[in-house]
Subunit: 350 residues, 2 copies
């Protein structure tokens, strides 16, 4: 079975190529996940480091879907929505409880940023069991070495290959998917793991990025930043406006730990940081302002609400290098349908 056929058999309501909306912590909640899955994609809930929100979000999605025309071809007992965990910070036992208790099991469970490989093995085994195999396991990696190690240890249903352009958290040191995807594909094949579908992440904003991912060796793509520019993303309008305004993401964003420090998001393993739009917090940090003072100003900006974002603002605007390709706010479903439509018209023109 080729990769696309395999993905289609696991998520039969989705169109080909598979378009997923990334499980952005605090941002990808019911509205975003439901719209994406209703439009031929696979929406994810960003459970992040807090497994206690899982049960509520699963039931909110179930209820939201039950009030709309049914999504065709959803397998019995499956919620056509995925959930994403930041493994180093989330509780496995709480996750297992919620999955067991839910009448509908999430179609996919996306694991990211474990402290060690053994955690991923443990999570994979426990969640496959809790969902009676109904939840497919996606594991996100950012290097060729991680891809092969995870493939060997966990036999994931999908490997998400994240490149350096991605917004929010990822490896501080990595390459973009331009070289990472083909090298992962080659190395996985060479070691007998060529049957695992690869989903590309990082810098993909539209059908052109999706098509590039496909020719590089992926069978689908996941987008985060593009969905920030949808009304369904659970962010403040100030954040959304900052995304629309930013352009030339190679220079207007950077990978940094500054925003984690300011937000008090401690606990990330040392090899991770996050890409966000540069603003006053970042520049002051670079100019040597101490963290206590910077945090004080950050908190004052928080009180300003929407005005706290933007180039002159101080609040974290996590976004990828593709931020300049988000030109207008558009419903998430329209984003998915637009990409699926456009990608069919793209050919390698010779």
């Amino acid at each position: 079975m080729n990769h696309s056929t395999l993905l289609k058999s696991h998520y039969p309501w989705t169109s080909t190529p598979l378009i997923a909306a990334a499980p952005m912590r605090l941002i990808a909640t019911t509205a975003l996940a439901v719209s994406v899955s209703q439009s031929g994609g696979l929406g994810f809930l960003g459970i992040g480091t807090d497994s206690s929100v899982l049960a509520g979000l699963l039931s909110s999605c179930t209820s939201s879907l039950s009030q709309a025309p049914p999504i065709p071809n959803v397998p019995q007992g499956v919620l056509p929505i995925g959930v994403g965990f930041i493994v180093w910070g989330a509780s496995l036992s709480e996750a297992v409880e919620a999955v067991k208790a839910s009448p509908l099991k999430p179609a996919a469970i996306w694991l990211f940023a474990a402290r060690q490989l053994s955690e991923l093995e443990e999570w994979t085994t426990a969640l496959r069991q809790a969902s009676a195999g109904k939840s497919k396991i996606w594991i996100q990696v950012g290097t060729v070495a991680m891809a092969t190690e995870v493939a060997a240890a966990c036999a994931p249903d999908v490997l998400v290959i994240q490149g350096s352009d991605a917004g929010g958290h990822g490896l501080a040191q990595s390459s973009s998917i331009i070289s990472l995807l083909p090298e992962c594909a080659d190395e996985l094949s060479r070691r007998g793991f060529g049957d695992i579908p690869l989903i590309a992440a990082g810098g993909i904003m539209d059908a052109r990025g999706v098509a590039a991912a496909l020719v590089l060796g992926a069978s689908g793509a996941t987008l985060g930043t593009r969905f920030l520019a949808s009304p369904e993303a659970e962010i403040r309008d100030g954040y959304r406006a900052a995304v629309i305004k930013a352009g030339d993401g190679g220079v207007s964003t950077a990978r940094t730990s500054v925003y984690d420090v300011l937000r008090g998001t401690t606990g990330w393993p040392g090899e991770y940081n996050a890409r966000g739009v540069l603003n006053q917090s970042y520049w002051d940090h670079g100019a040597g302002m101490d963290a206590v003072e910077n945090k004080k100003l950050y908190e004052r900006a928080l009180e300003m609400g929407d005005e706290g974002w933007g180039e002159m603002g101080r609040l974290a605007t996590y976004a990828g290098t593709g931020v300049g390709l988000a030109k207008e706010i558009m419903p998430a479903g329209e984003i998915v349908r637009g990409i699926l439509n456009d990608v069919r018209r793209i050919q390698v023109v010779l």
Copy 2:
């Protein structure tokens, strides 16, 4: 005229899509440039910061080509080979002299890393005149802003869009071509510069990378790192071996200024650094070793010859994140023909 037709009309001996070998300073000399152009691509000579080598290299290429079966369809008075300058360090008057004096004008002149936009205007005008329009002007940029400014000021024949994965020198802060190429394409079109063909650079190693560049909006691609693994690259075998050995380039390479310091290559504008394979020099620098001591060890490694390279070595191994996709040493012409052959078989599989 579409971009591919335009490129073909300028370089009628080349195949579509246009495959160029980057003008790597000290590395891309006669052998590499000639083999690439003899194989349906466009070879470049790395003139770098030393315009005084131009006359000799042009005549060496002319002589090398005259001893082989003629390349078909080369326009009269044109040498089917390009030349690349690092503008901040090279002498324009010497370049103009050499181009004027050469009976055959280089098919393309690639300008990189000017201190300011006005230099690029000056170089473009002077070299167009010196070559009586026979040399097409390529200008390399790394941000959307640079792309539109250069397009407006210089009307280049080609814009080379370099992403963060590229080996050797480039912008310290940039995105990969995954988002940079489509944003440049959109912004150039919006401003009326949509007629300028884009050539992608950075992380492209084989037909998959070339196909990705095409769907992202480029009309051709330039490869550097892949050609390091050819016998024609003018590098020591130790360097070549280090390229073959390195893999997982997102973590085995990094952008840094360390190697410039050790080699005494001063003068790069502050926004540039270079990507190379990590080795002992880099780690010692990171561990706080002072530059004088590190340079002393570097120079001792230089005396070791081929043994001075490699992971435990100290010599600069400039290479891009795609270094892991260079698995074997292969003649440059075979690399070009292989890519041209493979890219025809790639389709966006839906």
